[in-house]
Symmetry: D2
Subunit: 352 residues, 4 copies
């Protein structure tokens, strides 16, 4: 009954085995090894075009270094107020980009909408010597409130970005969960919809520390190795990341893993919908369930062995406002979540 | 016969097994897990005092973030001209410290000497508003030319640093090899000799990506978690580093591994001393052998299957200057080096 | 009828004369000259205590370098959404502080309120490794919508900052106008109310480029000369700033100048209150008048020779919302504004 | 007898008068005023081509911001060991460029030579992910030891830079003195010789704070206004810099001023050549005289009213090494230096 976060899990057996198999032998350092090269090429197939891919080991590094490639002096990154880069990365985007200003605003159910993006990009145009100039828009798939962007929603934002001459970055920390939920191809919700660079996350979905920064226009990646190097994110034994991705991507393992987490979340959500003492905060698309119940109830459930956290964000998307004593709680599933975990939770949600 | 670098090796069986054993279960993210805590405490025993320890995943991150804790505006880090931070980290120390100037100078056999350090610290005193002010001295153990600092040499530099009110950092990427070579305790060549912070390297000696930043005065570490966070070096599933260190430090495994590499290097050096067509560049202390032979010979040896690189640094420490056609070559051993590798190399060194 | 901005004016005769008188002779560079020292000391009298004062030449430099002294890694500066540092300094606060995140929020009539400040400081506490940690609060006196903070309002914010262990910075670009408006002493609205450091502006009020960063606790200023030096803000012929301040502060010249600007603004505001086709947006405290009238009218008035700009901020403080076609317009007075300018404007405001 | 530095002088009468004349009236802020535009255009004539020119107020800002336009992640700026950017700007080039590493090396009489530049640029090529990659070469005209680069020497370095695809920056803090000494056109020693951007100094030669960054390829200047803005170097009343340059450039005033300083230096040098107790350190080209005499003698001369400083740099260019007790002393002349100052100094140089 541990729904604290998907980054509390370790790694899947396949990933663990893949890493163990890569342990021996000698190969070139700093990503010039055979495994890194072969795994990198696999991303071309995955995205149905030639991409430039670089591995990183944390999501914050992937996001911040990806955003660096758009950065200009006085650059601004437009993002959702609740986005991970704005609220959870402790200044890494600002620092690693040499001082980008994140320009956050709201948006229903965790999503930016294209009209607001367009307005903001007009305000922070290329000659704005007071407020600064937008250089990129960053969206999160799936969002911080567990919803996903549909391909057409992304495309509208992509068009807005392109019209303003700025880049579009996607923080795909839970890209696999979104993909499974949308039942579409990786290309459909990335470059075909105008995404320029994707942080393709593996860590939350069964790897130790495997993130890939995927550039759909390889020319944009020109300086990326230097961005990694100057920030200490270039690994000497780089194949340990490649080995994780090798196992992760093999035979659709990554999608199976995400699917399992999503299914568990669906089961959990369905149960909460049936509950009388709890309700869903907003629609559930992937492996995160946000439920409204009282803080008292939360305490009792924790006492009964459940683990989860109260969630401070997204409240303006609630259909029915919080009543006194109520709070929004986040429940995250992952590849280690079992039906027993879910059913155990549901068994006590209405108790007391 | 692959002597390219110790970071071409993968991981030892123990480390690989340790990592596999940590794969299951759920535990808190961001280093708040049980394993990270228990491994961290082990460093207290190792260094015979209470230390503050933080894990990192690359040596450049460990060094640069460690140096950040000394940084002030217009700060200067005094280091050897050939030091890794000055020549191999691609600007990471400058970038991650917000613009420290590295002030490099020479020194026999890769070592700084205390007298030069003192003179430099006097020039870049605390009120130098033109040239900047020294904030730290950084030394490398073992050095980039394969030599080690003795405890008394470190202590002399430590005294110089303390007298000037600046910090002393040790880049211990090959700390284990130095320790085995010196046959002393970790405390003797660190805090007892005035070292304030140590980058304790595990990567080159049998881990995937395991570096520890060890503060001998825990108060200095106050902001370290923020330095890690803002640069994207805070790992969500932090226990994958802890698991490596857990196995690495168990039962003296780390020293065994280093000892094996050093023994292989000794065997290689002894052979080169006996050779007629090659000679040692300078004394050999650990797992790096620097040998002088002609570039023609190098080509022939590579054709015979040997791997190694020419080395551009340290030439002013050569007893006998390079003759036309000669170059210095670096041969690095590691836990995967076999006697067959060494003997194979020695079998062909005088050929042709 | 030019109300574009107070930085469109040149310098007062006294300041110009003072600068000319300083032109001759030789004296030490970099602020070690006699004039810089003597003018600096005058700030002790002005603020009724010993202060540490440093000159700068732009308001952005003064603000950003002042904030630097509070900065820690992942540091956050709490400020009003419409504050100059957030909307008009083109990323200088972020850049010069090594990547501070500005955390903006709203507040009635351009002012932060102590309760909101307290809540925000609680969220971004000293151990917030996700969102970052607050290091300072910055307020503007007078605000960007022309209002002033009373001493008790500042004191409430000062208490909130002190309780949270963070600093309080005041951007005093129009400090003189606020002071005249409040009719109190400089000490009352600065250190006595908890302000730690003040950007004391001279530029907008009759100097060419004269800003002073005033530290009420001289110990905090320890590194300031280095912050200036590393950002290119240390002037070799520093006495040219000192000479401006020498004339500016002599015989209350700075207050006379501000008073004149405020009187002109009052006259303008009174006229607008009497007008039928325009209304004041909110209360007028200093030398900035914000008036609501239609864009059509604005065009006609510009055609008649008036200069001013539409103002995008502060609209949530309007008592009566904007009607279709209406906008808020900013009219700034300065020491060069004449009664004829004001009366000329008022003569046409109701026309057409 | 004050030869401390040319930045100890104030401003010339013409410059002072020009500034006073600009004091009145209203005009657009931030460099959009009439005067800034007209003075900027004058630089086209001066350099015989269309240039992009931006004003700054300190030499460190001009140099560092100019270098920023070449910067890439892990960028390296090649410069002379004794260059002002390397020894006197307190980390501003590193900081304002987001962490450029300055790569200093020696060179006879303060000059870089093209062959060494070529070798260095080869080492730090565009793919050097260890040491970093060169992005620019910076030379100083005149050099820190008072010598000048001839046009052909600059052209050789310019060719080396172009061949390597990096930029060439000239720190022209004493450009006017060099120009007068070389008796050539500004174009000859800048863009015709391969210089991409020039820091054109006015401050040391009779202005308060007037530096111009001159881009010979206006396209390179695209982001410059943002570099200025984000570092607080964009002046609201920008015309106060323009007014200085307006007077400085009128009727060859700037060259007259430099010529006078050079003539005084020549007179001083001639006297020292005739002296028995002092000798010139190396050839004298402009307004700086470097003389070798004993420290005892220096003390006596200071007691007699002379002001100057010992000079730590350039000693490897001395024809005759320093004898015990001797030191190199720098004597700087400027537009305020009189024949009486020079003759007074020469009268006592052999005394005692």
């Amino acid at each position: 009954m541990n729904f604290a976060s998907d980054n509390w899990a370790g790694v899947t057996e396949q990933v663990s085995r893949g890493l163990a198999e890569a342990a021996g032998g000698l190969d070139a350092a700093y990503g010039n090894d055979t495994l890194t090269r072969s795994v990198s090429e696999r991303f071309n197939d995955l995205f149905e075009r030639e991409v430039a891919v670089f591995f990183a080991a944390t999501g914050s590094a992937a996001n911040s270094l990806a955003l660096s490639t758009f950065m200009k002096p006085s650059g601004i990154v437009v993002c959702h107020r609740d986005s991970h880069i704005n609220t959870d990365e402790c200044g890494a985007p600002e620092f690693l980009t040499n001082g980008a200003k994140l320009l956050p605003f709201g948006g229903h159910e965790g999503r930016l909408d294209a009209a607001s993006v367009t307005r903001t990009l007009e305000t922070y145009g290329p000659n704005n010597l007071r407020g600064g100039r937008a250089v990129a828009v960053s969206i999160t798939q799936m969002t911080e409130v567990g919803t996903v962007y549909r391909a057409d929603e992304i495309a509208a934002i992509g068009a807005a970005a392109r019209a303003a001459g700025v880049g579009l970055h996607m923080d795909g920390a839970r890209f696999a969960n979104a993909l499974v939920s949308l039942n579409c191809s990786p290309a459909d919700i990335t470059w075909r919809a105008g995404v320029d660079v994707l942080s393709f996350g593996g860590t939350k979905n069964g790897c130790w520390c495997a993130e890939a920064v995927v550039f759909f226009d390889p020319a944009r990646a020109e300086d990326f190795d230097f961005y990694r190097a100057r920030s200490g994110h270039r690994f000497s034994k780089a194949r340990f990341v490649a080995a994780q991705f090798d196992a992760y991507l093999a035979d659709g393992h990554w999608l199976d893993t995400a699917r399992r987490a999503n299914v568990m979340a669906r089961r959990l959500a369905d149960g909460i919908e049936r509950a009388s003492q709890a309700r869903l905060a907003w629609p559930i698309d992937g492996n995160e369930v946000f439920a409204v119940f009282t803080r008292d109830r939360a305490e009792r459930m924790k006492a009964a062995g459940a683990m989860f956290y109260e969630w401070p964000a997204g409240h303006d998307s609630l259909e029915r406002p919080l009543q006194p004593g109520e709070a929004v709680h986040r429940l995250v599933t992952s590849f280690v979540t079992t039906e027993a975990d879910v059913d155990g939770f549901l068994a006590v949600v209405d108790e007391g």
